[in-house]
Symmetry: C2
Subunit: 351 residues, 2 copies
Amino acid sequence: MDRQIDELHRRAATRPEVIGLAGGLPALDLMPRAELARALAEVAASREALQYGWPEGDARLRTWIASRLATRGADVAPERVIVTAGAQQALAIAGALLATRTIAVGDATYPGALAALAGAGARIVASGGDARYLIEAVSNPHGVAPVDREELLATDGTLIVDEAYVELRFDGRVPRPLLADAPDRVWHVGTISKTISPGLRIGWLVPPPAHHAAALEVKRAADLQTSSVAQAALARLIATLDYDALLARARAVYAARARILVAALRRYLPSLRFAEPEGGMAVWLETEDHGDEIALVRTALEEGVMFDPGSAFRPVARSSLALRLGYATAPPGRLAEGIRRLALALARWRA
Amino acid sequence: MDRQIDELHRRAATRPEVIGLAGGLPALDLMPRAELARALAEVAASREALQYGWPEGDARLRTWIASRLATRGADVAPERVIVTAGAQQALAIAGALLATRTIAVGDATYPGALAALAGAGARIVASGGDARYLIEAVSNPHGVAPVDREELLATDGTLIVDEAYVELRFDGRVPRPLLADAPDRVWHVGTISKTISPGLRIGWLVPPPAHHAAALEVKRAADLQTSSVAQAALARLIATLDYDALLARARAVYAARARILVAALRRYLPSLRFAEPEGGMAVWLETEDHGDEIALVRTALEEGVMFDPGSAFRPVARSSLALRLGYATAPPGRLAEGIRRLALALARWRA
């Protein structure tokens, strides 16, 4: 990550008057806090929470993950699931085993995926390549569905399919897992970070069967296993949680916040191009501006608003600026004011 | 890890009648379970436990780690400490940044270090090389202090210093951190897994200052950050825990269990060579036997005892067999019976 941007983000985080439109943090008030606290309290002193476990993770979690995939049409044995430290570690494990590949990621994508895949040694390109990374159903940062699944399935390349936002489309449509139709070449990645809590650091990887043993050894070498405490608490939580009801509520709340942000953009920045988000937590703005991106972030911070500058999402640098604006964590009543401040910052920066 | 050994370990773990002398698990009854449960319950619903945090980890933990190093003579700013998912991840991060090196590890060492360092690409040797990995104060698997610190400091190579057992010498002597005397070439690795709980998956890395920024980026790419829940609970715990009293108790208990195991070895396997452990959780037995190691493990399992076969600890294969016998988790009253069964297994296997 760019150190100057990192520094500005950290500065913004210490100033409560700054309206935060940066970061992929889910809304704290949508997390099942009371239920999770109860689950943690129940498992806290147990052997399963405090002792070492197996590298593949808790069998109850793997069964839950497999059963949710089965509901969507993918017949995956729990033995194929590896519990990881968030989707990020799943991407890092896939990256380690695809290090010799050229991976296409599109014009912009999740910066953590760029770091995980390139960090392992893979060559990252916008298009082409012999492997492809995509964020299913709701692309990050675009906020809309990625390319056509028929087109994807017509190719025969390796697919790294990140389902971080798959259940957070506002229309509630959850696609059939690509894993179901291309089991031998899909590296399936999922997480509860955007719905239950990112602080647990729990995600999963379903590698192609031929790579399962190698992926498990990479996981073991990386950190032995995912936190027993976090896994035990989550296993306890999902035994009673109505996860579909939680998802329905999150979709409704994020959709309402997205509408506020979109309306504010149309009011304060009517000339900027963007697609209305179909799900997730952010809007992606493409501008025809060129210039010093860090200066724009600094100016925005002076105006009291923070956003994610687009360059971090780009596999290949572009001279035109882009911005990702998140609506998940700022108070909804402050979102329009955040966009007003951003418009002021853009005007000052252009001048 | 060898799949057949892994399979036998898993089988042993499901059979309560098997006396377990395998694995590096600390004793559950020495963990501060009630205090940790209280700490978890207190933080469970908080923002700090459930939301994303910074990749370097919780500032209170980093301050605590730095202050304990300061007490031992190493002046380390908390800003230099990176909280990791156990010592294992600290080793993996060091490995990723030392991937072009040849790392000497001695005749036998912690298998997880071999996996983390070799997995990243480093060449692993027993001696020589331009870097060295050592387990300070109580070597694993040997159970005794590694080579002389004057000799180590006289060289100018990179040192990866794993302090997993550093505070678990039975004599209570905790050495001055090598970090204090060679700050620019020591990758310092620590953990609370052997004293508080491995299930939290919390360790730390203090990389040489010139590598700090790169190490933090590797950590971020690996899993974004260590579990917020685990970090928040540990930060709460250490605010009130008497950690030195906990260490003193652990030393006394492990020393007593070591004495039982040593006495049983002298009784049932008097011809085998071993060094009496000076700390930690295991005895390392070198034999003059040659033959099928997996068959020995299988025979031991039939006799109702499980151990760690030596080959997993070897950077370079040897034909003579070795065994690591742990005394931390089996009921103390069953340790002698475990060795009696092991002697039977060895006799059957030799026949």
